[in-house]
């Protein structure tokens, strides 16, 4: 499974060149403005805006769509339940099941809003190296301990994914096949226990290795952030678009 969100961070685009601190703040404001939108016509336009941003960022569309694919499955229960349970004016009647207008509108607007917001998040984290983006969060006054935790966890996820893959291969070679019986749950629980124990054994060694390298709990960054006028200009454009969306929402 590919978890690298920053696979395309080496492309050259306006979003890639943008100072991460400004990028985070501006895109966060844009995301909030997306979440405020309620009017149906405005909801239809925000995915277009998000797609324009993807084009500018030059992130491959297949990469963005592939990342969104899994999310869509999570929306399925909401998409089925909302139109048939919201109440109000009936929009359509299929084999005795009432489909309500409010629910259908709500489901579509939640879906479109979510997709647009997720695309924005992908642009925020996909157009710079992940560690650089996280360091930018540190410069935005997020507590140091949390930043260190995020960076460490991110690093070790890759290692434990590899561990899990090896354990799964071992299970496969021993003829284990996942079914819905108690034995299968027992094996899965051992798998989790195994992962935790391996990681616990590693913690002490990793910690000692870090002490030897001079770790004192401080975040030492090799990245320097330097904002130029263009960075500020880009931020102003995005914040202006966000305010425009909120303004239109109030007017409509």
């Amino acid at each position: 499974m590919h978890i690298d969100i920053d696979r395309f961070s080496n492309i050259n685009s306006q979003f890639h060149k943008w100072d991460e601190r400004y990028k985070i703040i501006s895109i966060l404001i844009l995301i909030i403005s997306f979440s405020v939108v309620k009017s149906f016509y405005l909801v239809l336009t925000i995915p277009i805006l998000a797609l324009i941003m993807v084009t500018i960022s030059r992130l491959p569309l297949y990469f963005v769509l592939k990342k969104l694919k899994l999310t869509l499955i999570f929306f399925l229960p909401l998409f089925i339940l909302l139109p048939i349970s919201s109440g109000g004016e009936i929009f359509y009647l299929i084999v005795g099941i009432k489909i309500y207008k409010i629910g259908l509108h709500l489901a579509i607007s939640i879906f479109l809003k979510a997709i647009s917001i997720l695309i924005c998040i992908m642009i925020m984290f996909g157009t710079s190296r992940f560690d650089r983006t996280i360091k930018a969060f540190y410069h935005l006054k997020i507590p140091e301990k949390l930043i260190i935790m995020i960076l460490f966890t991110y690093r070790y996820i890759y290692i434990y994914m590899e561990n899990l893959r090896k354990l799964n291969v071992a299970l496969f070679l021993q003829g284990f096949k996942k079914t819905s019986n108690l034995r299968s749950i027992l094996v899965s629980s051992s798998l989790i226990g195994n992962l935790l124990i391996r990681c616990y054994d590693q913690t002490e060694m990793v910690y000692n290795a870090m002490i030897l390298r001079g770790f004192n709990g401080k975040l030492i960054s090799q990245f320097r952030f330097k904002a130029s006028k263009t960075d500020l200009f880009k931020a102003i454009i995005i914040i202006f678009i966000s305010l425009l969306i909120v303004g239109l929402e109030i007017i409509i």
Binding site: I5, A114, L146, T153, I197, C199, E204
Partner: protein
């Protein structure tokens, strides 16, 4: 299962961030800097453990494990859940950035409850291993059920149109509770057999 992007109104998202920030602030203060790398490693292991799917009839479910996280990580499970959910939102687009505050609160508080429940039993009945495992399993399941109910309440607060969806949400979590209970019990059983110091040492359970 957690609340996805686009559902919550901004007021509730911001409220979620405020309460989560307060609890994170309180809990992270008690974590010493030396423990940060260790906690992060265990968080990564838990993160990867949620990829282990359990087959249930025609579907397969993925585990929450917030109860077990509370048992093993103690108070630091709250910031650990924050980190895990943040990475999940950013790397896999599960959950989201705006509902992050609410999601962290709804998964973190039950983790703390299960930590206190487990710790109470552990200190009181140190010799009775079976009872410890049983209470551990129970608190693992309880954490998932409380999370489900809290998330459902948030959904109902977001709008009356979500009521049916909220009930569905709560009921799925209550079904998940049984599987999660059984699994937490089995994992505790495995750990206490293979490496009991992981539970018994006070290094990680702060």
């Amino acid at each position: 299962m957690h609340i996805s992007e686009g559902i919550l109104p901004p007021t509730i998202s911001i409220g979620g961030y405020i309460v989560s920030a307060v609890v994170t602030g309180i809990t992270i203060k008690k974590v010493s800097l030396d423990d940060v790398p260790k906690i992060s490693l265990v968080t990564a292991a838990f993160f990867v453990s949620t990829f282990i799917h359990i087959k249930l009839g025609p579907t397969s479910i993925h585990l929450t494990l917030n109860g077990l996280m509370g048992i093993i990580l103690g108070i630091s499970s709250f910031p650990a859940i924050l980190v895990a959910l943040f990475l999940q939102a950013v790397l896999f687009q599960h959950g989201g950035i705006l509902p992050l505050g609410i999601n962290v609160f709804c998964f973190g508080i039950p983790a703390l409850i299960s930590h206190y429940l487990f710790q109470f039993t552990f200190t009181k009945f140190k010799a009775k291993l079976l009872l410890i495992k049983l209470i551990g399993g129970l608190s693992g399941g309880l954490a998932v059920a409380i999370s489900g109910v809290m998330l459902a309440l948030v959904l109902i607060m977001s709008g009356k149109e979500f009521t049916t969806f909220a009930y569905f949400f709560a009921w799925t979590h209550i079904v998940l509770m049984f599987i999660e209970s059984l699994l937490t019990f089995l994992v505790l059983n495995f750990i206490l057999k293979v490496k009991p110091e992981l539970i018994k040492s006070s290094k990680l359970t702060l």
